[in-house]
Amino acid sequence: MTEILAEGVVKAFGRTRVLDGVDLAVPRGELWGVVGADGAGKTTLLRCIAGLLEVDAGRVLPGRPGQSRLGFSQQGFHLYSDLTVDENVAFIGRLYGLDRATLRASAEELLAFAGLSDRGTSLAGELSGGMQQKLTLVCSLLHRPPILLLDEPTTGVDPLSRLEFWDLVEHLHAAGSTVLFASAYFDEVERCDRTVYLDHGRVVAAGTPDELRGDHATLEEAFLELTS
């Protein structure tokens, strides 16, 4: 069953067509990656799928924000720097309507997994980039969404934090979540069930990492050959 869908999606900003007929369908429980250069349309695609942007043409799923089934971790840090980790978590959890006990249990487990248990009273603005990214992910998972969108979640994050971050994502994937993430790093999409190459708003290739690599040494080389 398809959980995340983009069907002939077109999106333009002014005269610039950022997405030009994008198709992808992520079945339940799979981990998919969208990879491409800066400006390829990765963020726009995920925002359309989340329903934060209206598409000009085509169809998306879930396509509507504010659903308890969807978790969306956006690019960059979009939580409250002047609130502590615990306050951010409590605030977002209450917006999802979680009761006190559920919120506490969910927050404790996720913060522990993200290695943030001992930073509960730290101001979010004082955390490192990697910790902020993990906090963003924790907040988007509090309500235990079965569908997860991650937009360049490790950009600007140090290598160790990246590894810890992917441990967390793979744990969610193993638990049955459907995950679609966008990334500019080709090594990250090695972890995916399937990968989509996006270039100038179009899907230029899609398949498992092995299929996409083909005879090339790396996914990056294969991508460069396709887009050159």
């Binding site: 934060l52 209206e54 956006q74 409250y80």
Partner: protein, 345 residues
């Protein structure tokens, strides 16, 4: 030198491309200068005046010829009726005339300082001009010493609440947008209406707390009492704040940065101070700018605050202002809600 010129050039390029800020830098001072050039008029005319007990064509003629007074055709029967008219804002001056047609006493509404001082000055001049006539005794009501503190504090309460409701609301929403947190909120099940109301309620509470604080300071530091119903003052303040919060939300939908929001707030606050009748009476303003006054919540709240605090009037005398505040509250919040929804889409 090359480095310096490069920095200056870069600044001008940024300013030129930031059209909202550019419009505020150039347009606002120009607009303020023109509007306030007309509005800043200390010369009050058309002071509503009535004769008490007896009519007197010479007195009526002298007052009308002076140019500052507009004398009502009706003569009120006694001093109690005249005081009632002044309390309810029907007239600002009541001249008691005896059976011989001689003015014996003058009552002046002291709740509006500029009107009261102008009326007192012109009446004194008239009496000096009619040598030999007995001088009428002048009684200033509500603010006998013509204290500027008594006059200003009720209006200043409105200014202080405007500061909180307008600026903080506008900044609060724009800050969310600048930091990108508003998008994080839109992912959650929170509705646009909840977001709008949730962003404004804290500032409404803070502004009402400010009202309590300012009333206490006015009472114990400046000796300005609330003669009327405090609950009525709070009810009117609620309407006033709702309208002002609506204006703050409107600004938040127009501004892209906190700097722009601050500049726009100043653009809205200055007219509130200068065109609301707080300093210059509305009657002294030409219609070219007076219509702006009628769109400002402070115009009505300043009148309400002065009425309740200085004159002790009740709701029966404040219907016009109350309805105006309610209409402005609905209009500004409604417009803000529509724009707020659009900017989030």
């Amino acid at each position: 030198m090359q480095r310096l010129s490069s920095l200056v050039r870069k600044e001008f390029i940024e300013i030129r491309r930031d059209r909202r800020t550019l419009a505020l830098i150039v347009g606002v001072p120009l607009l303020l200068l023109v509007v306030f050039g007309y509005a800043a008029n200390f010369e009050v005319q058309h002071i509503a005046t009535e004769l008490v007990e007896h009519d007197s064509p010479p007195v009526r003629e002298a007052l009308s010829a002076n140019g500052h007074f507009t004398v009502r055709a009706r003569v009120v029967p006694d001093i109690a009726a005249a005081e009632n008219d002044i309390q309810h804002g029907q007239v600002a001056v009541a001249v008691v005339v005896d059976a011989q047609g001689v003015p014996t006493q003058v009552f002046i509404d002291g709740s509006n300082l500029l009107i009261a001082t102008t009326a007192e000055r012109e009446l004194t001049a008239l009496q000096h001009a009619s040598s030999g006539a007995p001088h009428a005794h002048v009684v200033i009501l509500y603010n006998p010493t013509l204290s500027s503190t008594d006059f200003m504090i009720p209006g200043l309460i409105g200014i202080i609440m405007t500061q909180v409701a307008l600026v903080l609301t506008a900044l609060g929403v724009v800050r969310e947008r600048e930091r990108g947190t508003i998008e994080q909120l839109m992912i959650t099940p929170v509705t646009k209406l909840e977001l709008m109301v949730g962003k404004t309620i804290p500032y409404l509470i803070i502004a009402l707390f400010d009202l309590v604080f300012v009333l206490l300071v006015s009472r114990f530091l400046f000796g300005v009492h609330v003669r009327g119903d405090v609950a009525l003052l709070f009810g009117e303040a609620f309407l006033f704040l709702t309208a002002t919060l609506g204006m703050g939300l409107m600004i938040s939908t127009l501004a892209r940065t906190q700097l722009q929001a601050t500049q726009m707030s100043v653009f809205v606050q200055l007219p509130q101070m200068l065109l609301s009748g707080l300093i210059f009476p509305l009657a002294a303003m030409p219609w070219g700018v007076r219509w702006i006054s009628y769109l400002l919540p402070l115009t009505y709240f300043a009148a309400v605050a002065r009425g309740v605090m200085l004159k002790g009037v009740g709701i029966t005398d404040l219907w016009t202002e109350t309805i105006a505040l309610a209409v402005l509250a609905v209009a500004y919040v409604g417009l803000a809600a529509v724009r707020f929804r659009k900017t989030l889409d």
